[in-house]
Amino acid sequence: MDQWAVKQDGNKPNLIRKPSKQHIREEWVGRVYTALCILFLIVTIIAIVYFVASRGLSTFIKNGVSIGDLLTGLKWAPEGEPALFGALPFIFGSFSTSLLAALIAAPLGCCAAIFMTQIMPGAGRRYMQPVIELLAGIPSVVYGFVGLSVIVPMLRNIFPGQGIGLAAGALVLSVMILPTITTIATDALAALPSGLKEGSFALGATRWQTIYRIVLPTTLPALLTGVVLGMSRAFGEALAVQMVIGNAPHIPRSLFESTSTLTSVITLSMGNTITGSAHNNALWSLALILLAMTFIFVFIVRFLERRNKR
């Protein structure tokens, strides 16, 4: 909505003083400056997409790797003879860690949100909110460090294997995405019209019946939005995962076996390859997959939000 409803009335030029020169100059300064800032933002995103896509696609155009081979190939040996660019293990690693992390974090986050909005709003706002904000503020390398020094040894003692692997990655990620899921779920639950809940209570339903028959179904699209945003964060997270996942380039047979994700292989290899080589281009293709997934996640979120509005 345009809230600037101060229009000069063109028919009565004598009654209204023309704006002074200074006034006009100020208007122009504001307009041009803010437009330039927003232009910078737009140019940046176009540049990111253009540059990553141009480098990522050169694997297929210049190096003659077929898209199908890259997406479904099982063996990653970019320096081998012949060089093989099968990125399926990494794609599998990224999807499985972020899915598992979402599976762990979603119930926890929803419970926290229900606690904060339905069960103890006072204590929720006072203690739970800062806790969630602090969890969101801890840097990802610190999560990686804690994962490496606490979760990995713990898993090594309980389960067979080295401790590093999918399970460790998913556990670390689940703590990292918990704040995202909780915040969005809390906002959704708090925005629910109180009439719905009161109606249910008036019919004699208990609090739990009200929550899982009325509150959760009504807010489901918003809760899913939170889960998808959390997954998208988990999908793009690089260092914390790279530290605990083991970085072996194959599909693991168990949760406790070393594997890799798209981000971890980029982090590890990008610095050691020569710009323009087939290996380097293949890494850019992986970055392009990451970028494409970001767009897909954003569109899923948009779709869910539209469902939510209706």
Partner: protein, 295 residues
Amino acid sequence: MSAKTANRVATAVIVLVAAFIVLLLAGLLGYIIFRGLGHISLDFLTSAPETIKAGGGIGPQLFNSLFLLVLTLIITIPLGLGAGIYMSQYAKPGRLTDSIRLVVEVLSSFPSIVVGLFGLLVIVNLFGFGFSLFSGALALTVFNLPLMVRITEQALAGVPREQKEASLALGLSRWKTITSVMMPISMPAIVTGTILASGRVFGEAAALLFTAGMSSPRLDFTDWNPLSPFSPLNPFRPAETLAVHIWKVNSEGLAPDAAEIAAGASAVLVIMVLLFNFTARWFGRVLYRKFTATK
């Protein structure tokens, strides 16, 4: 199970989960701080790291992190405020504004490693800034800008409509209204948001691996000429930040006390982030009281 029992069980489970999350945070912070605190000393905070010997510190890294944060904020704040003002005050509803909003949303969900790669390709190689603090600051700007835009937009949306209209009715230009009437009112929200965003920038590592670099030259802390290659103030030198250092020590550290260094550095990082968090809350409250004359 009767409805009442189910209610009691479900409530108990939810409360337990909430308690678990609080304990999780307490455990995390406790572990990081208590494990690292033993290693933190004035010497650790000021001395340079050692590659193969024990006893290295994190002095240059800590300085780099702070300096990089300042550089990033110098670039981000004017851009973010401008773009945020545009989105909340100048943008007309319609297709164009919707697509700009989508762009901001997409930019804010780009993985930071992709932003880092873009920085490597464009800022480091194409523009020729090399691995430097300046490249790192630009990459962090890209990473931080959408957040800054959202903070500004929300802060300006919180300004009472009457105040804006009163200012316009007095004949002030739009721009003057924004800068002298609306900005002061929204300042507490903007400052709080910026400090919180700074905490995020402070701990960011993935976007910096390939832009600010993974090494630091021997810094000469007596040389404050920003053009000299060994001066800490030179923005065109490579710089390893604290977060990058933690990652590097954990994944390829050769020093015998690598684990202790990582623990100490993590504790410092977390304490800094906590400081940012508490400062933001406190400052927001102070500013709010100052600007609104409430007690």
